[in-house]
Amino acid sequence: MIEIQHLSKSFGHPVLRDVTLSVPAGCLYGLIGPGASGKSLLLRMVTGLMRPDTGSVTVEGQDVLAMTELELASFRLKFGMLFQNNALFDFMTVAQNVAFPLERMFELTPDEIRDRVDERLAAVSLSGFGERAPVGLSGGQKKRVGVARATVTRAPIIFYDEPAAGLDPVTSQKIFDLLRAEQQHAKTTVIMVSSDIERLLTVTDRVGMMYRGALVFDGTTDEALTSEDRYVKQFVHGLMDGPL
């Protein structure tokens, strides 16, 4: 479904080294790794927000890198994305934020748009928050608006970049459970980047681990938990000694 082949990128120093992995359809794929290992960059490459130096990205059989910006614009109908810092449009209300992708992408009537927005806000337990401004919301609330906006178009592929960053443990778990429920209900393909290994591994089907721009592990969740690879073992179990 998503095929990444030999992706490399360098900004004077290499930030992605020959990354190859594939994400099957309907899979919830977790991407883990220490800071600055290239996880967010990889997400940007798949969505076409950034171009690699070499390699290819194929999504549902189509070559992302061969597209022009205009073609990408319509191709992104297939995507929904939650950004690391939410990236909510601070000059719009919550409801306008969630409605925004719908208005751009489809020919829906205003009533249909409103219904979908209400449904999404209810799904993330934020009913009634429609007229609020993003700036006054708590971190958890902003995240949930972000999730609503990312899933409102019912796109088949969703990217979550650090969905629980900066949230307390209870809220984090709620977000992860919400995202898993979403994915199973809508049968979407999801790539989730997170530093919260413990919670992430409770919801993933497959896991990939990155270290300094290279992919050091790619397998099922069980394989990750029982792996004897030194890097993986240390990171997954949060151990003190090891190569990291």
Partner: protein, 271 residues
């Protein structure tokens, strides 16, 4: 690539020619980006579609927020110019009856549009770069792209149109203000009657045309240059400060260079 050219431009060999050459290279590479932004903006302008309130809000932002500053500045300029011109002319020729005529000619042909543009390059240029730059560092611009909204269409186009309109409006207003203050100065300091001052004999249709062209060109250049700086922000919130500085400097330079080009073209065409 842009950053390497920036660094090369800070190297100092080659004397004056080297300096101008390096700055020209810098402007050229920035120019390519700006050209791309300009072309894409015009494409979206041609396509039409825009939400009603957005244009009005941008026009309000540009117009109302700069009005006070411009009125004060142009008022002062009116007095300064008439004062200086009067003093200098008196050294050569005692008769100041053409003072108003030549002042009006200069105002229409060049000063009103250019000074308004330089002030707007500062105010509006900084504002646009800061707004767009902040959106870049908080990933809102990426979020726009992910929602199939081209940032050029959504962010730059309204500011582009608003700037062209408001530059023209503000130029006319400021011209009026500085005519009034100039007239008062001429009367109080040089005893030139307002009726003598209001002498339109030297203001030709070609001057008005040049003024209009300048308003359009400046009005178009400032948002394009500033938005380019804003969109290429990097380095977090500190980067927004750099983008703002770059926008102000480059917008001002653009106004100066366009001034020269349009004035020269006008001189050659209309003489």
């Amino acid at each position: 690539m842009g950053m390497d050219i920036e660094r090369a431009a800070d190297d100092e060999s080659g004397g004056v020619a080297g300096i101008v050459g390096r700055r020209a290279l810098q402007l050229v590479s920035a120019g390519r980006e700006q050209y791309s932004v300009l072309v894409r903006t015009m494409y979206y302008v041609a396509r039409g579609k825009m939400e009603g309130g957005v244009l009005a809000r941008q026009m309000y932002e540009i117009g109302n927020r700069s009005l006070f500053l411009l009125t004060v500045v142009m008022g002062f300029i009116g007095t300064i110019l008439v004062l200086q011109a009067g003093l200098q002319t008196r050294r050569v020729v005692p008769d100041l009856s053409m003072l108003g005529a030549s002042y009006l000619e200069l105002l229409v042909r060049d000063l009103s549009a250019s000074i308004v543009a330089l002030m707007l390059a500062t105010r509006v240029g900084a504002g646009i770069a800061a707004e767009i730059g902040s959106m870049v560092v908080t990933e809102q611009v990426d979020a726009l792209r992910m929602c199939a909204a081209d940032p050029i269409d959504y962010l730059v186009k309204p500011r582009f149109l608003a700037s062209i309109v408001m530059t023209t409006v503000l130029t006319i207003w400021s011209g009026g203000v500085s005519i009034v203050t100039g007239m008062i100065t001429a009367d109080v300091v040089f005893q030139v009657a307002p009726k003598t001052f209001w002498n339109l004999s030297l203001v030709h249709a070609s001057d008005l045309f040049i003024c209009l062209v300048k308003c359009l060109a400046y009005g178009a250049a400032i948002p394009v240059v500033s938005a380019t700086s804003g969109l290429s922000t990097f380095g977090g919130s500190e980067g927004v400060g750099w983008a703002t500085t770059k926008a102000v400097v480059n917008s001002s330079l653009a106004v100066i260079i366009l001034n020269f080009l349009i004035s020269s073209a006008g001189l050659i065409a209309f003489s």
